[in-house]
């Protein structure tokens, strides 16, 4: 198959989609439980990328092997992402839990602004682009006309492993059961003697860890990082979560892959079409299918 719609685009789209999916899961988990669009989620991704950047640069100076290096970088970016997510929940969002929802949303914008501008104000990070270290030697694979690199394989496989672990946590552990229950009915949850705030903390930690991991993966394949890099992917991941039906974890993953593939195809047609396609999808979905592709229809309570 030649032209625009070929297998090559599909592979690139899956790879972009895996980054979106990891961010979208965090959005959808947090939204499902406390109905907050966490605008700062894209910045957890950015901080994850910077954590990986500093870790890799430090470890490369120690001449460490590639495989241990990538594991340590992944752990570093995940822990930074989850730490910042946990702190932002504790400091900024927790007090607004029972205030109007809009004030939490505005606070989320404030947290997002703070993380972006604070990191660009610190001299160690700075407001300009930084090249992400390419510490693994690139290997090319060609199957027929399709071309891909070992970076893409690493990227997609890490994302898939993380998503499998997450799905296991959500559907087969007691924590996952508590998370699903708190999305259903918070009062009943409290009556069962479960600490809701602890569940919310853990949700933020899980979401932040996945966003941090997405930062590492994005740094590996699009090797240019900057403090404002989280805004657009964050927005697009949210669109993916909406597309899949917000609050639905599997829907968010599928929505992210659909969005990634659509965007890569759009870029293949025209760069402007590619940039605008996510927003167009958002508007169309919200107008014609507000519950998303895999969401449940909900009426409004009066």
């Amino acid at each position: 198959m030649s032209g625009i719609f070929n297998l090559q685009q599909l592979i690139n789209g899956i790879q972009l989609g895996s980054v979106y999916a990891l961010i979208a899961i965090g959005y959808t988990l947090v939204y499902g439980i406390i109905r907050l669009v966490n605008f700062a989620h894209g910045d957890f991704y950015m901080l994850g990328a910077y954590a990986a950047y500093f870790t890799i640069n430090f470890l490369m100076a120690q001449r460490m092997g590639q495989n241990t290096l990538i594991v340590i970088a992944l752990l570093a970016s995940m822990s930074v992402g989850s730490l910042v997510a946990f702190l932002s929940n504790r400091i900024a969002y927790r007090k607004l839990r029972y205030k109007p929802r809009l004030s939490a949303l505005i606070t989320a914008i404030g947290v997002s602004m703070f993380l972006e501008y604070f990191s660009s104000a610190i001299p160690a990070i700075g407001p300009s682009y930084r090249p992400f270290p390419q510490f693994i030697s690139i290997k090319d694979f060609n199957i027929g006309t399709v071309h891909f690199t070992n970076y893409q394989i690493i990227n997609v496989s890490i994302a898939i492993v993380l998503m499998i672990i997450l799905t296991y946590i959500i559907f087969y552990t007691r924590l996952g059961m508590a998370m699903r229950a708190s999305a259903q009915d918070k009062d009943a949850l409290r009556l069962m003697g479960i600490d809701l705030e602890r569940i919310i903390d853990l949700t933020f930690i899980i979401g932040g860890a996945l966003a941090g991991a997405a930062g590492l993966l994005a740094g590996l394949t699009y090797p240019r990082i900057m403090p404002y890099m989280g805004i657009v992917p964050g927005l697009k991941a949210f669109i993916a979560a909406v597309l899949g039906g917000i609050g639905n974890v599997v829907g968010a993953m599928l929505g992210a892959f659909i969005l990634g593939i659509a965007e890569v195809l759009g870029y293949a047609i025209n760069s402007i079409v590619g940039e605008g396609i996510a927003y167009a999808i958002l508007i169309i979905v919200l107008i014609f299918l507000p519950q998303g592709l895999f969401g449940k229809k909900t009426g409004e309570k009066v």
């Binding site: 929802r101 949303l105 914008i109 909406v242």
Partner: protein, 346 residues
């Protein structure tokens, strides 16, 4: 009949303030630098109050104000710079053409506001925020794509037509119109939508109509302010109107102004616009002088200004959720008949 009605008093006070500033300028106490800050503060007043009509009075959380600003700014900028070439004209038609260009900028922005409002106002809360944010990005991407208006280079060579008198006039008229809208039937309908959309629909308020109206009014004044702004800065650039723009009249700053001032209070927006504009200049000067002392091993970046804004926004939201003014107003902005009805807690 009272001779000094509140509306007349408002205009008299405004005239006095205008004369005072003009005298201070001609004496030399206010130099061009201060005048530029005053200009930007006035433009920020229009922007903050117009966003307050949408977000504060109607309760629709819109993040797309930069899109409306950009539409107005580019419409007026293209008219004065590329089509009419107003900058090269003689004194008289120059300013009349400029006023027409600014108003047309507002009108085009209002039309865009209606077009955006009709489909997206079926959504509520977070979804509306995201859609309007997406709209803002679409406008930015669109401007980037049009080479006629400069594309990613921006529109350069805009003549500096926004004089202090012009901006002052537009600001005063805008506040006056918005104040009258807020205390009219339309304004009451908007506030009822803010308090409870479903209930106001049940008592017969056509919510869609009033939401679209709020969007178009807000968009109109945003367009006017955007048009004035680019004729002060003599430059229009797509990144000025994007979500990440750290510029002092950028969408994020305006949002901060509305919520720090108090959503649902024109007075709050006015105070916050003036205070934050001045604060931003002070911070810039402070950063410059700290850098001049060379006590740190590195230079302090201008980004700290936005860090301060962000912290202010978070702190205000945590400890005073309703903003500085809440929903109260200056007495001068409240009509007499309204004041009689008021029970003290407006």
């Amino acid at each position: 009949m009272k001779v000094l009605t509140k509306n007349r008093l408002l205009f008299i006070y405004a005239l006095i303030l205008f004369v005072v500033i003009q005298i201070l300028y001609s004496v030399g106490i206010l130099n061009n630098y201060y005048m530029q800050i005053i200009d930007i503060a006035l433009i920020n007043i229009i922007l903050a109050t117009s966003l307050n009509i949408i977000n504060g009075f109607t309760g629709q959380f819109s993040l797309g104000h930069g899109g409306f600003m950009a539409v107005g700014a580019y419409t007026a900028g293209v008219l004065t710079t590329l089509i009419w070439k107003v900058g090269q004209m003689q004194a008289l038609p120059k300013f009349s053409l400029f006023i027409i260009a600014v108003l047309l900028g507002g009108v085009v922005a209002a039309i865009i506001g209606i077009l955006l409002g009709i489909p997206s106002l079926r959504l509520r809360g977070d979804y509306l925020a995201i859609v309007t944010l997406a709209f803002q990005e679409i406008v930015r991407v669109g401007i980037n794509a049009i080479d006629y208006v400069g594309g990613p280079r921006g529109l350069l060579g805009i003549p500096r037509l926004s004089t202090f008198a012009m901006i002052y006039f537009f600001t005063l008229i805008s506040i006056f119109i918005m104040k009258n809208i807020v205390y009219s039937t339309v304004g009451r309908a908007m506030k009822s939508i803010r308090e409870d959309e479903v209930a106001s629909e049940l008592v017969g308020v056509n919510t869609t109509k009033y939401k679209v109206m709020a969007f178009s009014i807000g968009a109109f004044f945003a367009g006017v302010a955007g048009a004035l702004l680019v004729h002060v800065l003599q430059l229009a650039h797509p990144t000025m109107f994007g979500f990440t723009s750290p510029s002092i009249a950028g969408p994020l700053s305006i949002l901060v102004m509305v919520y720090i001032g108090g959503a649902g209070s024109l007075s709050g927006s006015i105070i916050a616009a003036v205070v934050l504009t001045v604060l931003s200049e002070l911070l810039r000067l402070g950063i410059d002088s700290l850098n001049g002392l060379h006590i740190f091993p590195f230079t302090i970046g201008p980004e700290w200004r936005m860090v301060v804004y962000a912290v202010l926004l978070i702190v205000v939201m945590l400890y005073r959720t309703e903003g500085i003014m809440g929903q109260r107003e200056f007495k001068i902005l409240v009509p007499e008949e309204e004041e009689k009805n008021a029970t003290g807690s407006a």
